[in-house]
């Protein structure tokens, strides 16, 4: 079930264009990732990820609302929705086929975590490859990191590392908000076909 939620959110994050909707989906994705992490860690520790994710989503939401008031977004060149849907579908199929076995070779890991992590890693990389806009890059990096964390939390359950990686999520949100708020053209930055 959690893998299904992760797949739907990651797919929607790649395909949808509305920023507010994507921030909402990202929050749902963070909740699912915390659940997946909770399979290997105590739930209260996994909740750290949820809190960090929600803070990151909060930062993105606040900066988004300020940008709407101050400057209209310039949308950069992007792939069409149809192409993104097709590519995401292919990515999901590849991820599900790869995630059937423990390709990380990490011992004592649950099948659900492997599958969820593989889906997030694949879709994160896809998001990075399909767009150069700052907002999409940020979402792609957050998805990629979430996928990595699901496995890495099992390997390295240290609180310090957990906190440091959580700070990366918040940092990413801050950087993208900064780029958007300061210049008002963050969405257009680095747009590539």
């Amino acid at each position: 079930m959690t893998v299904l939620v992760v797949s739907v959110t990651a797919l929607s994050l790649t395909v949808l264009t509305g920023r507010v909707a994507r921030i909402g989906l990202l929050a749902v994705q963070y909740a699912a990732v915390s659940w997946l992490t909770g399979l290997s860690l105590p739930l209260q520790v996994a909740a750290v990820k949820l809190v960090a994710g929600m803070i990151a989503c909060g930062i993105l939401a606040v900066s988004e609302s300020k940008q709407e008031r101050s400057t209209p977004q310039t949308v950069g060149r992007e792939f069409g929705t149809l192409f993104r849907s097709f590519a995401s579908g292919l990515g999901l199929v590849a991820a599900f086929s790869l995630g059937q076995r423990n390709w990380f070779e990490v011992p004592d890991i649950r099948q659900e975590a492997i599958l969820g992590s593989t889906v997030l890693l694949t879709m994160g990389l896809l998001q990075l490859g399909l767009s150069g806009s700052a907002f999409r890059v940020c979402l792609g990096l957050m998805t990629l990191l979430s996928g990595f964390e699901v496995v890495y939390s099992l390997i390295e359950p240290s609180l310090a590392v957990l906190a440091l990686i959580a700070s990366i999520h918040i940092g990413l949100a801050l950087v993208v908000s900064y780029l958007g708020l300061v210049s008002g053209v963050a969405e257009d930055a680095g747009s590539t076909p």
């Binding site: 990595f148 590392v161 440091l164 990366i168 053209v185 963050a186 680095g190």
Partner: protein, 462 residues
């Protein structure tokens, strides 16, 4: 009191202080310069883990600082590199008073230095990758000061550093949990592949260098020089620490071959790309990649004294890049566009300093880059004659490219402001030119930095 807590706490305070002063022109940079200089000297000279008495009060500076179960330690193994970063910061913050790098330069630059210092002090050292990622995030704020259109290259930097962090952290797990002592050929190949990916990104090895060229098109050259040199230096120290700590890795022939090959690739491609550029900043960005390539070649060549050459080059590079960045930024202040045609006619000292810095990166005789290449090529084994040819070719190509740009900078096609070099600027620029010439003429002046830095990597210097 814990020395790392004091250093990083002071860095945070200085960063906050310079942020509060950001609307003033000189004050934040003056604060950052003084603070970085003091921290750098403190790191080098503080009596760590030794009881001392001051004004009748006994005290002891502890070398370790434990946070959330992890240790941040200052010891002989990292004091010189941490001090190096702060002293580099002091040089750039000081010169930044004349380069107009933007309001975020001092506060976020200090934060970046703190994070990079943390990357060198964290135990286990593999977690340095997380600090490097955080530093890359901070670097984006330095490269994109308020009011300017975001630079696409800095986003690419962020993506690349995230991938590097993932690769290096996963390698760490392979080494910790599968076992360093029982390395099988299969595991060694996996580890080397992942590490190769991670460090290729941190060392700007092609094809992971592209962010630098993109950033050079739009970013203030002085800010770019600062970020490129501190990020790459921290990445290099991380690599040296890896090699110093893992015996099987430093004796693995694949590692030295990879370093040699990547080094030559960078020197070759960097110089070719540099010669082909029609943008002054991009020309130097690629020259910088070729210079990084020479560093990797020195690591891979396994020569006696190779470590000293590498560390000396790191120091010389800072001066050359700062000189280029300062000169280029000062010329841009009066130029109508980024092409800088004829900018040398109205800014002769800025143009000269900038060109001298670029020549230092090329390894031109009488500049700081030359003795390094001379020492490297003189001791190179006969078997690496192709390597010698590539490095000589790279020196020649980049020197010719700098020569071409000298002609363009001093051409009569100038359409910017009439004149800019005031008396203070002139003295600063003359000081920079003298420093570059001094390093080229008397390379032994760099030895006080090299000696303690070599001790930090004792296993690499038997």
């Amino acid at each position: 009191m814990s020395a790392p807590a004091f250093i990083f706490g002071l860095t945070a305070v200085l960063s906050a202080g310079s942020l509060m002063l950001r609307r003033r022109r000189w004050a934040p940079l003056a604060l950052a310069t003084t603070g970085s200089l003091l921290i750098g000297v403190f790191v080098l000279t503080a009596p760590i883990d030794t009881p001392r008495t001051l004004l009748g009060l006994s005290f002891e500076l502890e070398g370790g600082w434990r946070i959330l179960g992890r240790l941040i330690a200052l010891s002989d193994r990292n004091r010189a590199p941490v001090a190096f970063l702060y002293l580099t910061g002091a040089l750039f913050f000081g010169a930044g008073m004349f380069a107009s790098p933007g309001r975020s330069f001092a506060p976020v630059g200090l934060l970046t230095l703190g994070l990079l210092g943390g990357s060198l002090a964290i135990e286990p050292f593999l977690y340095a990758a997380i600090f490097l990622e955080l530093a890359a995030m901070a670097a984006i704020l330095v490269l994109n000061p308020p009011g300017l259109r975001p630079d696409p290259g800095s986003l690419q930097l962020l993506v690349l550093y995230t991938l590097a962090m993932i690769a290096i952290l996963f390698t760490g797990w392979l080494l910790d949990n599968v076992g360093v002592t029982s390395v099988t050929p299969e595991l060694a190949t996996k580890v080397i592949t992942l590490l190769g990916l991670g460090f290729s990104i941190l060392m700007f090895v092609p094809p992971f260098h592209f962010w630098l060229g993109r950033a050079a098109e739009t970013v203030n050259p002085f800010s770019l020089a600062f970020i490129a040199v501190i990020l790459q230096s921290a990445g290099l120290f991380f690599l040296l620490r890896f090699l110093d700590s893992l015996e099987w890795l430093r004796t693995e022939p694949q590692v030295t071959t990879a370093a040699l090959t990547m080094g030559l690739l960078m020197a070759g491609l960097g110089s070719l790309a540099s010669a082909a550029q029609s943008d002054y900043s991009k020309m130097v960005a690629y020259a910088l990649i070729a210079d990084f390539g020479v560093t990797l070649f020195a690591i891979g060549s396994n020569q006696p004294g190779g470590l000293q050459i590498v560390l000396f080059q790191v120091g010389v590079r800072v001066v050359s890049v700062a000189a280029w960045g300062l000169g280029a930024a000062m010329m841009l202040q009066t130029a109508a566009d980024r092409k800088l045609m004829g900018a040398g006619r109205v800014n002769p000292l800025a143009a000269s300093l900038s060109l001298l810095g670029a020549l230092g990166l090329a390894g031109f005789p009488m500049t700081g880059g030359f003795p390094i290449r001379w020492a490297l090529l003189r001791n190179a084994p006969l078997a690496s004659s192709a390597g010698v040819a590539i490095i000589l070719g790279s020196m020649l190509l980049i020197s010719l490219a700098v020569g071409r740009w000298a002609a363009l900078l001093f051409s009569p096609d100038w359409d910017g402001a009439p004149h800019s070099e005031n008396r203070t600027n002139r003295w600063i620029l003359i000081g920079g030119i003298l420093l570059c010439l001094l390093l080229g003429g008397f390379p032994q002046l760099g030895l006080p930095w090299v000696a303690p830095a070599v001790r930090a990597f004792a296993n690499l210097h038997p």
